[in-house]
């Protein structure tokens, strides 16, 4: 009884306190269990034309793959220059990680990130809005090919195709200034990322990321990342306005 009272009180208290930023804002599109909680194991939604609907706010449950995309002991065979750079980054305490200068993450480190991202889906286009660093990514699903001529881009160029219920996203043209993860796995201008997204139920996203970069790695390698839905909430503002760390970052 006390727990029920405490739960009700806290829900009201926190929703009132947080209402200006929609931190707790019930979404009528979310299926509910009998007690009113989001039913995260309900059937994954589809658009009227049968296309899987990935809309929602998602995050990785931990920062494990943000820290190290090869966290599960995946065999990663680097080319000699990549291995040297990777070791140098370890020895320098990752002080040159782009985030240290408040530059945003890129494709794979955002894939592994535990901060929220909103997926907005419309015919021909999927947009990801990342709360951290106030960043976004566009995945074109309108049948276009990757551009032949391309300037290096922080998030590269992404096209997506449906393979049954799985969205297969090809990305190329990612700037070499970005790191694959916080620990410092490097990449070259030949980087080709394949992400396979599948929503097995309402509250979960499976994400299989393959790194294919023959200039940096002797063979492709694959990480398996899961996302969880963040129901009944929204993104918060995030601008790097009070950066004080960069000048204090030191290597060895």
């Amino acid at each position: 009884m006390f727990r029920a009272f405490a739960l009700a009180f806290c829900l009201i208290a926190t929703s009132v306190a947080a209402s200006p930023q929609w931190l707790n804002y019930p979404d009528p599109r979310i299926p509910r269990t009998a007690d009113g909680k989001p039913d995260l194991t309900a059937r994954a939604p589809k658009l009227p034309d049968g296309t899987p609907d990935f809309s929602g706010i998602w995050r990785a449950p931990t920062g494990k793959y943000l820290e190290n995309l090869g966290a599960d002991g995946i065999e990663i065979q680097m080319q000699p220059w990549a291995e040297r750079l990777y070791k140098e980054r370890q020895e320098n305490n990752q002080k040159d990680r782009p985030g240290g200068r408040c530059l945003p993450h890129s494709v794979t480190d955002f894939d592994g990130h535990f901060t929220p991202r909103k997926i907005i889906q419309q015919p021909g286009l999927i947009v990801m809005l990342f709360e951290s660093y106030h960043s976004y990514r566009q995945i074109f699903t309108d049948g276009r090919q990757l551009p032949q001529e391309r300037e290096p881009a922080w998030f590269g160029y992404s096209i997506g195709k449906w393979d049954g219920d799985t969205l297969v996203v090809d990305t190329a043209g990612v700037s070499e200034s970005t790191w694959l993860d916080d620990i410092g796995h490097p990449h070259s201008d030949a980087l080709h990322i394949v992400e396979r997204f599948r929503r097995p139920d309402f509250g979960h996203m499976q994400l299989v990321v393959t790194i294919d970069d023959p200039k940096a790695y002797k063979k492709p390698w694959t990480a398996r990342i899961g996302w969880e839905l963040m129901p009944d909430t929204d993104l918060l503002d995030w601008v790097c306005e009070n950066e004080k760390d960069f000048l204090r970052l030191k290597g060895n």
Partner: protein
Amino acid sequence: MTRKLLAVSVLCAALLLSAVPLVAHHSFAAEYDNNKPIKFTGKVTKVEWLNPHIYVYLDVTDSGKTTNYAVEGGAPNGLFRQGWRKDTLKIGDSISVEGFLAKDGSNTVNARTWLLPDGTKVFAGNTEDGGPASRNQ
């Protein structure tokens, strides 16, 4: 009353909110020295509740000499989602901090634990910045 509200917030956070990792945009090891742990109690002189990290400035008096420390915490959004607010700590509040000093010799500290005089923990959460885990989490 403020203390009661704070206690309610803490209770709510503990009851309802799972430990969401706090963001660190930089590497812990590049900035802080895990061989320089520090623990002190001071009075809040300023709170900066801003991205990418909160900073709380504390006047710490030791043997008659007062030093102002800049204490770095988590990211405001992660803290906000866990129930903490920009006015959780107010100017003049007393707070005990355990953390690690910066490598550059400045009075800058990365806090792993913040405790009110009654032992209530504030700004609790996991930091996934590669730094030493808080002793109490």
